[in-house]
Symmetry: C2
Subunit: 449 residues, 2 copies
């Protein structure tokens, strides 16, 4: 996969006081009650009694929600377009025909998700346009709000199909063959969605964009724990997924002496124990890998035959390793191989790396712009200043970072909960996030090349 | 459950040379080719192309096999009877109306089982009667060969229904409500089997028996590893089954720092690691519990939500502990509780003991009789003398030990494999086992009370 690091351009770091004044005016015209009403309206599409939302990508509910977004955008004076992967773009013209500033996120949810994961970024983008309209601001560059197709990946894998195909359109052909549990192909569901939008202009993928800002809920506990309403996201952790298969010999739990057993679970547990020791759970401790932010999850297990009184003949488990530091992941991968060697003959353990993605570093000039925006919004609200943090979850911005200068803003998630009907964020924090987004987008869109 | 220890009666230890001579004659009339033909004939009922047998209890195939056994027994001159749990008894009369000597095992198999698990004990019992007939031996006590209902427990749980209900008929009412996966009740399947045998006399359960000997394949690797064809089984290990439930908090693998995780799998692995340390795998080592024969199996695991990138919110695993020494199991149980306390707050781990059975010790007088029988058969065949071992698997004999002096004889299992189509035992070993059974049954049946 592409993962270019973007160096700040010389011009990006310079703060123009006229541009700043426009950015502040945009920020000050964000309307908390308009945003709340907009969030509540979209949450009706797939809304559940428990407060959650079920709106998987390209379902009938998602198509209704897309139509709703198109109507909302047109009411704000936007020009609506769609690309071959079903990504929807809502464009507010600039004074010049330059590559637009892009913002937005995704409107699809997990099978049972919350009201804000993705939807917040799209609707805050539309709120920015409403604020610019209300303030009578003209920007140099066009602004586009995007709603990416299938970020969640729960109905059709992998996730972030829309944003990754936008960046590298060659990916789309492979995605079209992905099928959901009912056997429906992504390609067919996509064609139906495109056919349902005959009034929407088709635009090419991989169009030049001048910058991209994604506003999202954190989906983790860091901001809440620090009592900070706004986070400047410095990058997205690298991730490696491994499958460890331990082979043993299925045998009777009663009749087989310990000395002659080949117990696949005993081997798996010993390897797992070594892995957990790599990333100590105490705050501040760096563990044997020397990586304070290394995260290890052994999430998926399969035991054969999985019977109380049979010695496991095969145990398979997955290892999800994440860190912003790729070198720490190299060390953790080496430690996994060493653990396997320590606890079983090589023929009894197989390690497969079945997914990986290098770290994403957002460019400093983008972070500086977001920092200014967040600092002002927090200060005016009498709240703690923004903090910098990394994202442990993937986002569409991860792929956009391969295409143009990109960065993200986080707002807190209550108890760090996400992908769950109980997902929640304070209305005040949602408002501050939209304010920070308005500032950032306006600043980026008012800069001359 | 009942589990009385049987003390040898004074008379049981005395070896009468006239009785021994009869026992030897019975042993010498066992016919290897007749036994092999008998085993091959029953294996046709549910026989599979891979050499295995699928004959679950009270299926149509099992009912045909029962009819076949009845015909075989009648051809040998036996009187056939059945009890309320469908246990079939094939009786060869004695010269006196004393409680019979019982031998036999079960004719049902696992969903995919082998030709010998259970069937061997029943057919070797019929071979003993054929040998006594051929030798023209009259015994003082009657001899009954039994085929117990539902030893395997795979279609209807629990296992050993027939033998345990014979010993304690009050158990039957509870068993009748057990249902198979298709929803068929054990009670209804049983009634159909009883109705299909109108020509078979009904006899009471819990009838007095003077002794019981069960011949079985070892289903483990001990005899094969020692190159010994005959094993004198001294008892059956005590067993305790625990379920350990570890609670955590489901959360995103990427967004949740290690320091704030409640990872149910990390807790489960730490507890499991402590458990495996209790029973070292080196031969002769006694581990921290001081029990050289302690066997521990962590066989069944369930992880919620079992997703690569979600921290496990709940992990449940089972612990199967076995040892002939109940005190060692007390220590292992205490160690399990200690491990849970070490690795998680009490509110995060729940331990449930969901099955237990104390050790079964077979009486020394029975072992002495079997020892003589095995020693003579081995010696005449030029093979290694018998060895003593414990059974790690349950058998019908475990329940009969609550009812009358009981013991078991084992023959080797190739590679220790059982509950598998690949289950195998050398024909020579099967022959020697039947010889040892003939000697033992004849000796027990010729002794006067």
């Amino acid at each position: 996969m592409l993962n270019r690091l973007h160096q700040p351009k010389d011009t990006e770091g310079i703060v123009d006081s006229a541009v700043q004044a426009v950015a502040e005016r945009a920020q000050d015209h964000v309307d908390a009650s308009r945003l709340a009403a907009s969030l509540a309206a979209l949450a009706q599409f797939g809304g559940r009694d428990d407060g959650g939302v079920s709106r998987e990508t390209l379902t009938a509910i998602d198509l209704s929600a897309r139509r709703h977004l198109v109507d909302q955008a047109r009411a704000l004076g936007c020009q609506v377009s769609i690309d071959d992967c079903g990504n929807l773009f809502f464009r507010r013209a600039g004074t010049e025909e330059l590559p637009p500033v892009l913002t937005g996120s995704h409107a699809d949810t997990q099978p049972v998700g919350g009201k804000y994961d993705g939807a917040y970024g799209v609707l805050a983008g539309l709120e920015v346009i409403a604020a610019l309209n209300a303030a009578g601001i003209e920007t140099v560059r066009p602004i586009e709000v995007v709603s990416w197709t299938n970020e969640e990946g729960s109905r059709f894998g992998p996730g972030a199909m829309g944003s990754s195909a936008f960046v590298d359109p060659a990916r789309l052909a492979g995605y079209r063959d992905a099928a959901d549990q009912a056997g429906v192909r992504f390609g067919d569901a996509l064609d139906a969605a495109l056919a349902a939008s005959p009034d929407v202009e088709r635009v090419p993928m991989a169009r030049p964009m001048s910058a991209c800002v994604e506003l999202h809920i954190e989906q983790g506990p860091v901001l809440e724990a620090a009592a900070v309403p706004l986070g400047v996201v410095t990058g997205i952790q690298a991730v490696r997924w491994f499958r460890v298969e331990c082979a043993g010999t299925m045998a009777h739990a009663g009749t087989t002496p310990m000395a002659v057993r080949r117990d696949a679970m005993a081997v798996a547990v010993a390897i797992a124990q070594d892995l957990y020791a790599l990333a100590p759970r105490e705050p501040g401790s760096t563990g044997s890998t020397g990586a304070p932010e290394l995260r290890l999850t052994l999430g998926q297990w399969a035991v054969v035959p999985n019977s109380v009184n049979t010695i496991p003949g095969k145990v398979t488990f997955t290892v999800d390793m994440r860190c912003l530091d790729d070198a720490a992941l190299d060390r953790a991968g080496a430690a996994l191989r060493l653990a396997c060697t320590r606890h079983a003959p090589a023929s009894d353990v197989a390690i497969t790396r079945f997914f990986h993605r290098g770290p994403t570093y957002f460019p400093e000039a983008m972070l500086a712009s977001i920092q200014r925006a967040c600092a002002r919004a927090s200060q005016l609200a009498g709240r703690a200043p923004p903090m910098r943090l990394t994202s442990g979850a993937f986002h569409d911005a991860m792929y956009l970072a391969d295409h143009c200068p990109t960065a993200m803003i986080f707002v807190p998630s209550k108890d760090g909960i996400s992908h769950n009907a109980a997902e929640e964020t304070d209305a005040t924090d949602l408002f501050l996030g939209a304010q920070a987004l308005a500032y950032t987008v306006a600043e980026l869109a008012c800069r001359r090349p």
